[in-house]
């Protein structure tokens, strides 16, 4: 089974999508079957994805020509070190779906479950496609698959307010997607090609100039909106806080990351073409990243709603990743690439633990949830592990990446940003300490909290697995770091510094 795994590449995208379309049919008689079905589909897809990663590790990046049409005329699917993100992404889905089985009981009536799981599978399929496509127009189409399913997932559980949050997300998201389509069209008009590798080659002939700059800027702004960087973050807090908790975990952990992956893809093309002087752009990223870290953490301090607090914390962590990318030194970029995954893991832990608490008590603010740790020790412990992890204390998953990004800041001689990063971590520390203080050391004020029981096993197990992984990846943090290292080092010589 050597070269054979490349054949699995299109199936990894197609399987969740076909699974999504079939969900309502499969679960027509028994709506609760939809959850098991979605889980099965995701398990098979992750098996395929591990085959792809195995192939990548043994033979290096590989491509697949869709329909047998040769590049650059056909559509190319390409699996490189950044695409390897599909495996952890699918594994996180595999953990999150069992959590949602019981969680959905109080969110929606049974007959709406098939639609929920269909959207979740569609979302997973879109993200896989986004990560492995080697074609700019496909990048846009997969973005829209992910975005549309995300808008619907935000609204799926609630009534009016959820729909309003989803609509706000939709308007901003649609404008950013339009910018992306415009940038794609601009590149096509300039080079006559949509294949990424081909565009890179042809751009070198076209040379620089304002037209290329406009295309790059449109991509950059579009991806900044998708990742919810500070000035354009307004859609994120409401949408992520109001969605059902498993959806919040997916949105906060993974969907915002498509902006980062997209940015890396565009970087690969523009740096290979070497037509733009991107030092100034990197500097902009660094500044926006630093501002996002501080402002996200600052807003989070004042939140009483735990999910809203976690949503603001996402903005601040995206700031870390963007800061790392902008610093453009090997350590920082490796740290940022790995934080894409580690943050997804940590945020899934936190949102699922918060979801378990909300499910058991029906309360969602810190002041109402005082003393919950007495009645739900395991969930609270998982929440504590997540909190320590996201602050970036050793020996947890968050430490490794933030340490690398900080090292990168000092390595590239931009020490002030290294300090900004540490101060951001302090801010984050403050609000998570507030949370842990409320959970562990304050007297309960509500009868529900005094009588609360630990969540059912189907919800507790995913939370515990994720929290354990946060610790394990803190100890074995070197493995993902050394995995992305070759890809980053290959990219860096072109990085405008």
């Amino acid at each position: 089974m050597n070269a054979g795994w490349a054949e699995a590449l299109p199936w990894t995208i197609v399987l969740p999508m076909v699974g999504a379309v079939l969900t309502p049919a499969v679960a027509a008689r028994r709506p609760r079957l939809a959850g098991t079905w979605a889980w099965g589909v995701l398990l098979v897809a992750s098996a395929l994805a591990s085959g792809l990663v195995y192939q990548l590790a043994t033979t290096g990046p590989f491509s697949y020509d869709v329909g047998g049409w040769a590049q650059p005329y056909g559509i190319e699917l390409r699996f490189d070190h950044f695409s390897a993100w599909v495996l952890p992404l699918l594994l996180l889905f595999v953990v999150i779906v069992p959590f949602s089985w019981r969680y959905l009981d109080h969110v929606m009536p049974d007959e709406r479950r098939p639609a929920f799981y269909a959207l979740l599978l569609l979302n997973a399929g879109g993200m896989i496609g986004f990560c492995v496509t080697g074609d700019f127009f496909n990048l846009f189409v997969f973005t829209e698959v992910v975005s549309l399913s995300s808008y619907a997932l935000v609204a799926v559980g609630g009534r009016g307010l959820a729909a309003f949050a989803a609509l706000k997300y939709l308007f901003i998201g649609a404008v950013s997607s339009l910018l992306m389509l415009f940038a794609t069209a601009q590149l096509f008009a300039l080079t006559g090609s949509l294949n990424m590798a081909d565009v890179a080659g042809r751009l070198a002939d076209v040379g620089g100039g304002p037209a290329v700059m406009v295309a790059f800027a449109a991509y950059a702004v579009s991806f900044m909106v998708k990742t919810a960087m500070f000035p354009v973050h307004v859609w994120l807090p409401d949408a992520h806080a109001i969605a059902p908790s498993p959806v919040s975990a997916v949105l906060s952990g993974m969907v915002v990351k498509i902006g980062i992956i997209g940015m890396l893809r565009v970087y690969q093309v523009f740096f290979a073409a070497d037509v733009l002087e991107l030092g100034a752009f990197n500097q902009t990223l660094v500044w926006f990243g630093a501002i996002s870290i501080v402002m996200g953490a600052f807003f989070a301090i004042f939140q009483d709603d735990i999910k809203l607090m976690l949503a603001y914390s996402t903005i601040s962590n995206i700031g870390y990743i963007v800061l790392g990318l902008g610093l453009a030194s090997p350590y920082a970029v490796i740290g940022a690439s790995v934080h894409v995954f580690n943050h997804a893991l940590i945020k899934a832990t936190l949102f699922l633990a918060a979801g378990a608490i909300i499910h058991q008590t029906g309360l969602r603010t810190l002041s109402d949830l005082r003393g919950i740790a007495r009645r739900m020790p395991q969930t609270s412990a998982a929440m504590a592990v997540g909190a320590v992890s996201i602050v970036g204390l050793p020996p947890t998953a968050g430490f490794v990446c933030k340490w690398y990004i900080a090292l990168g800041a000092f390595e590239s001689g931009q020490a002030p940003f290294g300090f900004a990063l540490v101060f951001g971590a302090l801010f984050i520390f403050i609000y998570y300490v507030r949370m842990l203080n409320a959970f562990y050391f304050q007297e309960p004020v509500h009868d529900v909290v005094i009588e609360a029981n630990e969540a059912p096993w189907s919800m507790r197990a995913p939370v515990i697995v994720l929290a354990t992984l946060c610790l394990v990846l803190g100890v074995l943090g070197g493995i993902p770091l050394s995995f992305v290292e070759p890809a980053v080092l290959e990219l860096l010589p072109f990085w405008g510094n």
Binding site: Y151, A152, A155, A163, S177, L181, F188, L194
Partner: protein
């Protein structure tokens, strides 16, 4: 055709885009915002279609008597896909607006913001 030294079609596309963006940002009615979004989409589609045009080019269909240069057929395929995406976005947005109206009884943003 040139206008102030700029291609007229590109000028029109930019104007159309800005009109749509203005509607999206400034209107309070959610339906009008959605219409603004659709106008912006149309502007981008128009831009894509014009980019495939070649002065004096033939349609890229093989019949007797056609000769190079050919107009590029790819932009039309792109726009077709783009329209499908735009329709889906509009459908989801309309569904959400219906839900908002059913729940709050209004689709004006300034009234929605005053609700508790």
């Amino acid at each position: 055709m040139l206008l102030f030294g700029l291609d007229l079609d590109y000028v029109l596309v930019v104007v159309l885009f800005c009109v749509g963006l203005y509607m999206l940002v400034s209107k309070s009615n959610l339906l009008k915002k959605l219409l603004g979004l659709n106008v912006m989409e149309t502007a981008v589609f128009a831009f894509i279609v014009t980019s495939g045009m070649i002065e004096g080019g033939d349609p890229p269909i093989l019949v007797a008597g056609t000769a190079a240069p050919y107009a590029s057929p790819i932009p039309q395929a792109m726009v077709l896909t783009g329209i499908v995406v735009a329709v889906s976005v509009t459908a989801v947005a309309l569904a959400l607006i219906v839900q908002i109206h059913a729940h709050f009884g209004t689709i004006e943003v300034d009234e929605l913001k005053e609700l508790p």
